[in-house]
């Protein structure tokens, strides 16, 4: 049976459609990609089509008109009765229960001897040959050669980076492994993230940071922040609009 949806044809050297689209919008693109596009008839034609399409689009829908449409839409939305008012009776029943969960929930989690989350549902387990995977709590002892797996649960979809700062002051990206940008994360993702990471022999404190954001993240500035804090007792990460969870492990040889 043939594939029901053949992907768009693309030569072996051609960049993905999304890269050509970013190029057409003037986003930074590697020189090699630009050189290829110049010499490839199919990519040049696609880039021209995108550029032409944008010009025609803006001619038909100029920015000032679009902004006025947005203003009208905002004004209409402001006049409409808030949909949540219809749910007031339900809210009245649910809110007390929710308050109980919020007050008692953290206590229940503290009592749980398994994986401990600091702030968010960031879970880490260590897999050792011939043993069951072990959930890791703050200051758990790990060894060189242990394989770590991660899980991160968020009620909404977004983007996730898992970063590491080791005892030698080295910082790296654990998820997506050695990546430069965050990986997309589906909402309410309960499974462990794909892949695992084998710990090296850098001794001492091993800090793990899960950085969740509704927007894609670049790893480089975050790694630089971590490297600057090498040796500190409590390194921290700041990132606008992100949720950062951390876990300190103790690595023995």
């Amino acid at each position: 049976m043939t594939a029901p949806l053949p992907p768009s044809p693309r030569g072996p050297e051609c960049p993905p459609a999304a890269v050509l689209e970013a190029l057409s919008a003037g986003e930074p693109t590697p020189d090699a990609t630009r050189d290829h596009v110049k010499s490839c008839a199919a990519c040049s034609a696609q880039l021209d089509a995108l550029t032409g399409g944008r010009e025609a689009f803006l001619k038909a829908r100029p920015a000032d008109r679009f902004l006025r449409q947005l203003e009208r839409r905002e004004a209409t939305a402001a006049r409409a009765p808030a949909p949540w008012r219809r749910f007031l009776p339900v809210l009245a029943a649910v809110v007390p229960a929710l308050v109980l969960v919020l007050v008692l929930g953290p206590k229940l989690i503290e009592d749980n001897p398994g994986v401990t989350w600091k702030g968010e549902a960031f879970r880490v387990v260590a897999a050792r040959p011939g043993a069951e995977p072990t959930p890791l709590a703050p200051d758990s002892v790990v060894k060189a050669g242990d394989r770590l797996r991660f899980a991160y649960e968020s009620p909404e979809a977004g983007h996730l980076l898992v970063l590491e700062l080791d005892g030698r002051g080295g910082a790296s990206v654990f998820h997506p492994f050695n990546g430069t940008t965050s990986a997309p994360l589906a909402a309410v993702q309960r499974d462990f993230l794909p892949g695992s990471v084998e710990l090296d022999d850098a001794p001492g404190a091993e800090w793990l940071f899960a950085v969740f954001s509704p927007r894609p993240l670049q790893a480089t500035p975050l790694l630089a922040q971590l490297r600057e804090q090498a040796g500190r007792a409590e390194p921290t990460l700041t990132c606008d609009g992100c949720r950062v969870s951390s876990l300190r492990l103790r690595k023995t040889p």
Binding site: P6, P16, A18, P184, Q189, P214, R215
Partner: protein, 167 residues
Amino acid sequence: MDDTQLGQLYERYGFLVHRRCLQLVRRPEDAEDALQETFLRVKRYGPPREGEATLAWLYTVASRCCFDLMEKRGREPVAEESQLAALEERGGGSAEDADRRALLGAALRTLDGKTRTIGVLHYLDGYTQEEVAAQTGFSRKTVGKKLKTFEDRIRQLFGGRGNEAPR
């Protein structure tokens, strides 16, 4: 974000965001609606940070708006015409292929978040299965399996065009 910044963002990315919305929701009036909603959310929540992949971020917001819209309208796009063939300058294959592509948004709507992410990266962003695996951190096998689920859904929708998809 003020109107000047928003206008600049629209001039640079409005066409691409509208194109992505049209690929997902198909109906021009729905794409217009999703485009406006995308930029309203941008206005509300602020611009991406300097150096961030702005287009990828806008595509994420736009996809959410499109799926929200589809949920709200609760209807399937109808594959009675091959509008997508005209949109996809690189889209090869027959008119029937284009009709099946047109079911992409409908199929994605009924699938889980992981499959949606993989489907969008492969069929809209044009990444190969290996590149999708590298970007998302999923194994090549998982990517292949999720795309198979997605293709089965397309096949199912294509076989019963006009019917409401199971929810």
